[in-house]
């Protein structure tokens, strides 16, 4: 199958620091890839490079043969490349419902006057957005707290609200940065189930950064390990974890030498 998203010798440098070096990867449509590696390995930087939040120093990133480099983060999002953040960022004083509704930004919206005067196109779009939001909230089990303000909710609900906001309009590429961090075991399991369900519905290509190796094992058929900005292993999670280089990066175990 031809790749949906292609990284070709991508490097990102911050001054003298090589955060990502010569990373070449291809993601086929519908794939679900776990990105692992120790702290400071360059995982977030790679996600930033794909989503347009960090400029790459050299190399190419393309989706469906479209070069992403000249596009801003917002333009990539409108092409369907969306991402979550390591720390949850929400509209703090608004409800869960309104936070997810913002995600409908990626659907076509009427112009200024249409919106301000509530002309018929605006009313149609609003009905469409409300319906999409309600469906997503139901799918993710957020409906009971839809009208609570997010700043008074526990972390797990906030994290899930953020993910709902990314999913309310089906993304082409979904990038998640440690979505399970700070969740307890039950919440993690629920999160894995939600992501799996959305994935099985089809059409979604996901890259997920995760420190919880067990979660990657359960969720991702394929994984890539990064250390010091370079790919050190790729394959099924079990294969990757048994690689000596990965063992060494994680546990400092020296094999052989």
């Amino acid at each position: 199958m031809t790749a949906l998203l292609k990284l070709d010798r991508v490097s990102v440098r911050f001054g003298g620091l090589a955060a990502v070096t010569d990373v070449t990867m291809a993601f086929s449509p519908g794939s679900l890839t776990g990105l692992i590696g120790p702290n400071g390995a360059g995982k977030t930087t790679l996600l930033n490079a794909i989503s347009g939040f960090t400029a790459i120093t050299s190399g190419h990133i393309a989706m469906n043969e479209i070069d992403l480099s000249p596009l801003s983060a917002a333009e990539r999002a409108r092409l369907g490349v969306v991402r979550g953040f390591q720390t949850v960022r929400l509209l703090e004083r608004e409800t869960v419902f309104d936070n997810v509704l913002v995600g409908c930004e990626r659907l076509p919206q009427p112009g200024l006057l249409g919106q301000l005067l509530a002309l018929p196109p605006e009313r149609r779009c609003r009905a469409r957005d409300l319906a999409a939001t309600e469906t997503t909230l139901r799918d993710l089990g957020l409906l009971p707290i839809a009208h609570r303000r997010v700043d008074e909710l526990p972390f797990a609900s906030r994290r899930l609200t953020e993910i709902a906001r990314l999913l309310v309009v089906r993304p082409t590429v979904l990038l998640l940065d440690e979505p399970a961090a700070g969740l307890d075991t039950r919440d993690r399991r629920a999160l894995v189930e939600s992501i799996r369900t959305y994935h099985e519905a089809g059409g979604l290509t996901t890259i997920i950064i995760e420190h919880d190796i067990e979660l990657v094992r359960r969720l991702c058929p394929y994984s890539v390990a990064l250390d010091m900005g370079r790919i050190i292993a790729s394959g099924s999670p079990n294969e990757v974890l048994s690689e000596p280089a990965v063992q060494q990066a994680y546990f400092g175990v020296r094999s052989g030498a």
Partner: protein
């Protein structure tokens, strides 16, 4: 699935809408009654002050769009108010017909909004405030230095707007005119809050990173917010000049911009009721100090009130009222 917290109080989100509708109906009836009562029961002077509260509410709603919702601090807001006011004032001597003036005010406000917005797109916080301040000072300077036309710091009188029996400087007429734009501005802001554009603004205010990740066009959103806020202020200023019959630069200087900011923060940023409460505060309280003979005490009290709000009620009066309702067990959540 249990990502949802165990809730102490059961929530029935979609039933709350019905309760809200009753509340809204009650508020509408109460507000209409108050609106009718003011010109019937109060004297000319009080009705005139009420008209000013409504005019300032329009301008405050405008600042609330750019600052309260989109999070862009502007210290040029009173200048847009002045832009509208001087359009009305100069229309007489320049012979600009009445029907052209609203369009002119809107066009000038759009142009002004863009001029202020563009250089500020790369700035935020204090530096943004300083650049907008510069634009405000520039406006003051322009008025002061076109003496022949504007009367400079002496100000100038404005002939009333007359359409048949209507005279904008008559008490009830002024009250009506102010009511019309106040209602229009309030309805527009309410629709803005319901629209994607309004949510975009909140997103830009809360996190530009997250906004970009959702596909929100940040630059476009900020410019739109500046333009809308300028149009609201311009319209308010235009009506202000016709109602009050006199304009001078002090009404539109930096202090005036700061008072608009106080109105937004005091009432509660991003809340329509907040803008109204804030406007009532900046119009009525100085008036009370005038009446008791200590006009200079208002800025002192104003500073104190602002500090108290910042420390104890960051959400402003609207949030404070919600807290009190919750304390009394009247909350609808």
């Amino acid at each position: 699935m249990r990502l949802v917290p165990d809730l102490a109080v059961p929530h029935r989100p979609f039933q709350r809408a019905a309760g809200r509708r009753h509340g809204a109906l009650f508020s509408a009836v109460a507000l209409t009654a108050a609106w009718l009562a003011i010109p019937v029961l109060l004297g000319q002077y009080e009705v005139f002050i009420a008209a000013q509260v409504m005019i300032y509410a329009v301008a405050t709603l405008g600042l609330d769009i750019v600052y309260g919702r989109a999070g862009q601090l502007s210290l040029a807001h009173a200048s847009f108010f002045g832009l509208g006011a001087y359009t009305a004032a100069l229309s007489g001597p320049l012979g600009i017909p009445l029907w052209v003036q609203p369009e002119l005010v809107v066009l000038l406000a759009i142009a002004g909004g863009i001029i202020v917005a563009v250089p500020t797109l790369r700035l935020s916080g204090l530096r943004l405030a300083l650049v907008t301040l510069l634009f405000g000072e520039l406006f003051d300077w322009a008025i002061d230095h076109s003496l022949a036309l504007t009367g400079g710091s002496q100000g100038m009188t404005v002939a009333p707007m007359t359409i048949g029996p209507f005279n904008s400087q008559g008490t009830v007429d002024a009250y009506l005119l102010a009511s019309i734009i106040a209602l229009g501005a309030t309805l527009l802001t309410r629709q803005l809050a319901r629209s994607q554009l309004g949510r975009r603004m909140l997103a830009v205010r809360d996190s530009e990173l997250a906004s970009a990740s959702l596909g929100v066009p940040i630059v476009h959103t900020k410019i739109t917010a500046f333009i809308l806020s300028a149009v609201f202020a311009g319209a308010a200023g235009w009506v202000y000049a016709y109602v009050v019959g006199f304009v001078s630069p002090t009404t539109f200087n930096l202090f005036a911009s700061v008072y608009f900011l106080v109105a937004v923060i005091l009432g509660g940023a991003g809340r329509i009721t907040g803008a109204w409460l804030g406007s009532a505060y900046i119009v009525l309280v100085p008036e009370v100090f005038n009446l008791v003979g200590y006009p200079n005490l208002f800025p002192v009290l104003g500073g104190g009130v602002l500090i108290a709000i910042a420390l104890f009620l960051p959400g402003g009066l609207v949030e404070g009222a919600a807290l009190i309702r919750a304390q009394l067990g009247l909350h609808r959540r």
